[in-house]
Each structure stands twice: as structure tokens, then as C-alpha cells.
Symmetry: C2
Subunit: 189 residues, 2 copies
């Protein structure tokens, strides 16, 4: 008992909480997915296992994949099915794709060996009601308490922001594509 | 001549400009350096050579370095000297360190084989007048027109924002450290 009390006192002395963070990158500016990719790369650099679900296909391109593929034992990337159209021409097909992606996300969330889970562009799927918000929040809440999650995408739902530990809004101040500059390999983000 | 005219017409038809972008990540929120790291990692993943100058020591830690070290022929990182104090106890020493870092930056800016140059936390150095703003802007303007540059740090100078092609402000909406949550390996950024 004395040992436990001493441990508890040491813990209180630090006045800190070790917990998995729910991080949201939202806003209309650039850098939401890029910063999430940066976090994923940093985590694998620290030897942490990372799971990534891309709710919108192709957001992370060749450059990201080349880097991440150097760490095949630490990173698993699941990309939403080819069939996802986003143009509501075939809403049923999109719903199926969104649910499949969320199933992949749930597998990561249920496996504490994944220390970081990136749910890239989940906010878009939630915004268009392809997934039930309450079910997603419940899935996030039920994860291992030490697991970090990053959710990206503009228009984050208020309830998700409420639940999050850290929320950053990326605001666009200036954007070159308005001035006719072409998207470029290696830099567009 | 006909050949050249045709080429010009093709170029005009695309209505795009291929140029190196000057990108600024500023604001008080998280993600400025992380998104720059993500851009650097994406660029090396695309086989582009990247030069990084860290004006504040230790901002990119073990995780980042482990990832970047897998691509030793593509990335060069120069970290500002140990002597940098930032507490104005020895302003002359800080000035010397800042100038040395800017010299490293100028080497990258003068070498078009570096397709992307990251000047991490340069804004802080400019804010405290450790470097002459006009000299820095001139150095950026004189670089190879195809070279991309990312400048990070809060309180970006208005003249730098004016010159930039793409500016993103990271705004803090919620931050866990205010709630006593400890900075954690692999996730703090």
C-alpha cells in the first residue's frame, strides 16, 4: 500500500495526464492532411505503429506512400474503395464505401497496438451524412485510452470539436491557384 | 519560329504558371512545423532534393530525423548552433547564431538542385530582429524561380506575407496542455 501511495503521489506531483489525444485539423486552409501526414511520419520515426484510413481516395499521393513504405511494419494505410463518387450520382454506392472505410477505422480503434490512427477527411463523410455521427463519436470514445487519433477535413462537426482534445483550424490567407499557378508535383497539399 | 509559336500557344492554353512557391505557415496554432515536415517528406518521396534550416534548435526531433535519415541523398538538415539562447542574456551570441543559420539558408537558396527549402521558425528570428528583414526578402526573391520555400513561425512579418504565394494561418481552437495533459513522445507538435 505504501508503494502504491508513493506512486500516486509521484503521479500527482507531475500534475500531468498521459492520455491518447483526439486531434482535429479543420478549416478551409491548406495543411490539414499534410500536418496529419507529418504526425504519422513522426510517430513511425518514434517506432509507433500507425493506422491510416483515407476517406477520400488519393489525398495522400506518391510522395507520402514512398516515405511510408520504408516502414512497412509500422504503418497500415487503408484507402476508401474506388467506387466512391462524391457527386451523389450513386449515393448508395458512396454510403457502402463510407461504411467500409469506417469498418477499417474501427479495426484500428479496437487495436491498442496502433498508437496513432489517422482518419483523413472523415469530416467530409460526416458532413454529408454518409456515416452516423453518434456512432462515430461512440467509436472514438471506446478506443484504448492511450491511443491518439487525428481527424482531418473542413467543416468539423461541433460535437466532434467538443469531444476533441486539440483542434487546429487552418485558415487560408493567400492561395496561389487563384492567381493561376498550377498544382505542382511534390508541393501541392 | 512556327515551332516556338506553337509551344507558346500550348502554354497559354493551359493558363497556368509553373513557379516555385513561397509558402508561409503562421499563426499561434499547432501544425506549422509539422505541415512543413509533411511537405518535406512528400517532396523527398517524390525524389526532390530538400534543404532544411532549423532556426530554433530541437523543433524537429527523433521521429522526424529517423524518417528523413532514410533518404540521406535527398535531404540536408542544418540546425542552428547550440549557443542560441533566445533569452537575450547574450544577444550578440544569438545574433551570430542567427546569421550563421541564414548563411546556411542562403546556400540552399543559391543552389537550384534543392527543389524545396524549409526555413523552420525563421519568422521568430525576424520578429526579434536577429536578421535584417530586407536582406532576407532579397535572398528569397533572388532564388531560382523554380525553387519552393516554406517559412514557418508565428507572427510572420507583413512584408513576407505580401511576398508569399500561399499563406496558411494555424489557429488554436483547443489545446490539451491547458488542461494539464502532458506532452507526449510521437505526438507533440
Amino acid at each position: 500500500m505504501r508503494k502504491r501511495k508513493a506512486a500516486r503521489e509521484r503521479m500527482l506531483a507531475t500534475k500531468t495526464i498521459e492520455k491518447g489525444l483526439l486531434i482535429v485539423h479543420t478549416g478551409k486552409g491548406k495543411g490539414k492532411s499534410t500536418a496529419a501526414f507529418g504526425l504519422a511520419a513522426r510517430a513511425i520515426g518514434n517506432g509507433m505503429k500507425v493506422g491510416v484510413v483515407q476517406f477520400v481516395k488519393g489525398k495522400w499521393a506518391t510522395g507520402e506512400r514512398t516515405v511510408l513504405e520504408r516502414f512497412p511494419d509500422l504503418i497500415t494505410v487503408r484507402v476508401m474503395g474506388e467506387g466512391f463518387t462524391w457527386d451523389t450520382q450513386d449515393r448508395q454506392r458512396d454510403l457502402t464505401a463510407a461504411r467500409k472505410a469506417w469498418e477499417a477505422a474501427q479495426e484500428f480503434l479496437a487495436d491498442p497496438s496502433y498508437r496513432l490512427v489517422v482518419l483523413d477527411e472523415l469530416n467530409i463523410v460526416l458532413r454529408y451524412d454518409y456515416l452516423d455521427l453518434d456512432a462515430v463519436l461512440a467509436g472514438l470514445a471506446a478506443r484504448d485510452p492511450g491511443q491518439h487519433v487525428v481527424v482531418t477535413g473542413r467543416n468539423a462537426k461541433p460535437a466532434l470539436i467538443e469531444m476533441a482534445d486539440l483542434v487546429t483550424e487552418m485558415t487560408e490567407i493567400k492561395h496561389p491557384f487563384r492567381a493561376g499557378v498550377k498544382a505542382q508535383v511534390g508541393i501541392e497539399f
